[in-house]
Symmetry: C2
Subunit: 544 residues, 2 copies
């Protein structure tokens, strides 16, 4: 099952001046493309004096649900932009003027205070029902809460300016639901610290592209900016700076709430046993979380991955993930598990003895699995599900059936084989390999992102259904607040359409014709989304 929208409403021809190469698409500037779109040429005017977004008469919407009111204002601002007027309602309306967009919440559970989840997205097919009709110049929309933002976004994308600057929307019919339930963006706040405002700005842009998962790769080798209440020394010692380069509990709450009211889940990643150099800095006075590396018969003074042979390690992890499970409300935590370097473990005589005692021989992947197995058991007691990078599956660790396997490695042939292996073992999976957006190259690379398809591998229909989606990853080696937004957008928009729209939406020409104005719309909304190619926007970026 999946989210399902039905729109019966008015639609547009083309909302922007065509760019030098872009032609008008019959789907206007809709991005990502809804599942079914029919746009008539009957247009209706919108006036910022008269137009209102209101709760429908039979809506279950609770007037105290500020989340709704905030969304109304946000989309009112997006629709009218700089042309909006602040005066009182004029009282006069034209003959073909649309005065109301009615929002109908069809479920008694408005989920106003709840969080979006993988489960709720999956069960939306019958619940998330849009019905927008023209009736005495009044629109009706019916939908449940979290997809509401999706519906308002779609409506705002239907609005276009005519040659006099008047906002118009054409009669149209839209049925919509996403192809995949998990549509994510990974940001890395360890290799470079990302100020909270950068994260909020990108959540805003994610909503414009109907992404619904923020994968927060919050800590890694270079720095530990997450402020733990249980182990405050982790960020005090492990962050680039204990005050200016950390996320306080209030910061984290702000991010989660900002995401929630836009229908976006926040899944934190605490990657172990590798990628943990910064954890070691805060691990005093005992200094035994990380493995001491040896040079010959003596400790070299450097440290390797988490030390998997000490009980104290698992005591630490129990307390740490107990805290994490309360700080982050999402049902899933990403536990990493990628790229464990075995050389330090090999050098350490205590580890070698442990290997022998446990009959692991020299197969250090067995030791890794031993650690991961213990970690997964710990996290399971917190009632969280987990996501892990593909190595954990490859190494044969025993996983709970609801584990999500995150595929990130190899060339096309290799990742398709991995997807086949994972799903034939009955696990759910999501893809990132072709969407490492930190990797840049000269030219229109959005087309390559657009062509990749997570269900393109040898497998049965049952296997294909185990693919829950994918994530665009922007690793932080070369990215910080100075260049994150233009590097991510609109390249990630190509991934957004692949994960949302029907499998057969693959026409690069039509994609270009819609993505070009979508890029300009983001620019007009204040996002420094970089150009796709030679072109211009009716209103250029002015945030310089």
């Amino acid at each position: 099952s999946s989210i399902f929208f039905t729109w019966s409403l008015l639609l547009l021809i083309n909302p922007f001046e065509p760019e030098p190469v872009a032609e008008p698409s019959k789907y206007g500037s809709l991005w990502p493309l809804p599942q079914k779109v029919q746009i008539s040429d009957v247009s209706y005017k919108l006036s910022s004096s008269n137009f209102r977004i209101v709760d429908g008469k039979l809506s279950y919407a609770d007037p105290s649900c500020s989340l709704l009111q905030d969304a109304y204002r946000r989309y009112f601002d997006y629709i009218f932009g700089l042309t909006r007027k602040h005066g009182p309602k004029s009282g006069r309306t034209g003959p073909s003027e649309l005065t109301e967009l009615q929002v109908w919440i069809t479920s008694p559970d408005t989920e106003c205070d709840g969080y979006p989840s993988l489960a709720s997205d999956e069960s939306c097919e019958s619940l998330s029902f849009f019905n927008i009709q023209l009736l005495d110049l009044i629109y009706y929309i019916v939908f449940i809460l979290f997809p509401l933002f999706l519906g308002l976004e779609t409506f705002s994308q239907l609005v276009y300016e005519d040659e006099y600057g008047v906002k118009n929307v054409n009669s149209s019919e839209i049925n919509d639901f996403p192809r995949f339930a998990h549509r994510g963006i990974l940001l890395d706040s360890s290799r470079h610290f990302l100020p909270v405002q950068v994260i909020l700005d990108n959540l805003e842009t994610m909503a414009m592209n109907k992404f619904n998962v923020f994968h927060w790769h919050i800590v890694d080798d270079p720095s530990f900016p997450f402020m733990s209440k249980t182990f405050p020394q982790l960020s005090q010692k492990g962050a680039y700076h204990p005050y200016t380069h950390v996320y306080t509990p209030a910061d984290v709450k702000k991010v989660i709430e900002f995401a929630r009211v836009r229908g976006i889940r926040v899944i934190p990643e605490f990657d172990t046993p590798g990628h943990t150099q910064s954890w070691g800095k805060g691990d005093f006075p005992c200094e035994n979380l990380l493995t001491p590396c040896y040079s010959g018969s003596k400790p070299s003074g450097t440290f390797g991955p988490v030390n998997p042979i000490l009980n104290s390690t698992y005591d630490f992890m129990k307390q740490f993930f107990k805290e994490i499970s309360t700080v982050f409300p999402d049902a899933y935590i990403h536990l990493g598990g990628d790229e464990v370097n075995f050389s330090c473990w090999k050098s350490n005589p205590d580890i070698q003895k442990f290997m022998t005692d446990h009959g692991f021989g020299q197969d250090f992947s067995k030791l890794e699995s031993f650690y991961i197995q213990n970690l997964l058991d710990i996290v399971t007691t917190t009632n969280k599900g987990y996501m892990i990078w593909q190595e954990v599956f490859d190494n044969g660790v025993k996983l709970t059936p609801d584990t999500l396997i995150h595929v990130w490695k190899g060339n096309q042939q290799q990742y398709q084989k991995e997807m086949a292996n994972v799903t034939s073992s009955g696990y759910q999976t999501l893809l990132s390999t072709p969407w490492y957006l930190n990797r840049i190259s000269y030219g229109q690379d959005w087309q390559e992102f657009y062509k990749a398809d997570p269900q393109e591998f040898n497998g049965t229909e049952t296997q294909k259904k185990l693919v829950i989606g994918g994530e665009a990853c922007l690793w932080g080696e070369y990215v910080d607040a100075t260049n994150l937004s233009p590097r991510l957008w609109p390249r990630a928009s190509a991934v957004a359409e692949r994960l949302w729209s029907a499998m057969d939406v693959t026409d690069l020409g039509d994609a270009w014709n819609r993505l070009s104005p979508h890029r300009c719309r983001m620019v007009e909304r204040g996002v420094p989304a970089e150009p796709l190619f030679v072109s211009y926007c009716p209103r250029e970026y002015n945030g310089v």
Copy 2:
């Protein structure tokens, strides 16, 4: 001859927290590296209440020279940043406090109202003399006008914050002059329109990196944003929009003045006979500037390069470049001449007849040379020198001896051979081939830009002296206001040091150790200069 500075003053150890990988350099965060630097460990404090930048007692500085006063304020702001105080002078000074930076203009011609030029740069060796001495806690600086900005920039780079946030500068001695007189940045405002503020911001950043030439590739095939008074229809028809996407005469003046007071020359490029599609749109009512292409025996309705066989073409160019020569004060104009596609000329029967009449056979490069020769003669009458892309030289066009040949094509072997050919013919040349910064790739590509050297080719000392410098080019296919600054900086900084510092300054490790804090300094001054690698800045970019 070249610019020559002598500084006897106080210097620093390392002005920034070392980044994860960067180590303190013995040259602090100086970028580009001056020719001679000696930094002692004697430090002096600066107080924003007490410190002043003033005209020296025997300076030729004219108090009415607002250019100087603007520079003083700009560098006062840079030095003290957010910590500067706005209150009155305290009257109390500490025992090791530096209270004055004296600026001495040594030439009676302060050039306050003049423009920087290739010639003035070349003759600076004896004129541009800095002498900063410690004398009862007063500094002396002596220099002429345009390099003044260079001297203030260097001084500001010597200032660092100690652990209490106090600004310090160490006793030091600096002798400086640039290796090359022409150190340029090319921006392309045709493929994407660049708002004036974007250009001004980048002139500001150029000054921080001691670039002294803004090569304004102002028009090209996609659009013609330059508003000509003589032919207003060129931008009315050829710009993306006749009001929002054009440079008015006032805009152009603003750019030139903003550059001038920072010691930066503005060289406009009007590229012909190719790259002129946008010119054709404004060429009415006669519609004969561009060559009509033929399909068989009939005009196809499309147009090719400038039509070189009509007198009206040369009449147009005479009037056009007469205007250009007055709008842009610099002694040079860039006339382009690259990438002429001959297929349209070939298709046109009138052109074919002209070829036969002139005995050109089927060698269309002879026709191109015919056109260029006429154009150069026209521009020569305006008393301007010209720069041209290498094809014009390759095609054997007769050039005046002061022509600057701009090398941009080929792999390393090919461009080095071209530099050898050009200089063995006695022409001055500058290099751009290895510095096409629009070409991006994953990783630390600044190192490749840093390694390239414009004098590295087989040639005599006389030939080497004909190399006047180089330009970093940021072509506009994938660049506009949303991403220009982080794409250009600090990658262009690598080129800046190559063109300024001594030939043997090639240590990548020391470059990294200075470039990392230089990048953070740009960020602190408000420039969204992207990170070089995993790292952090004491004060992250907050302009999001």
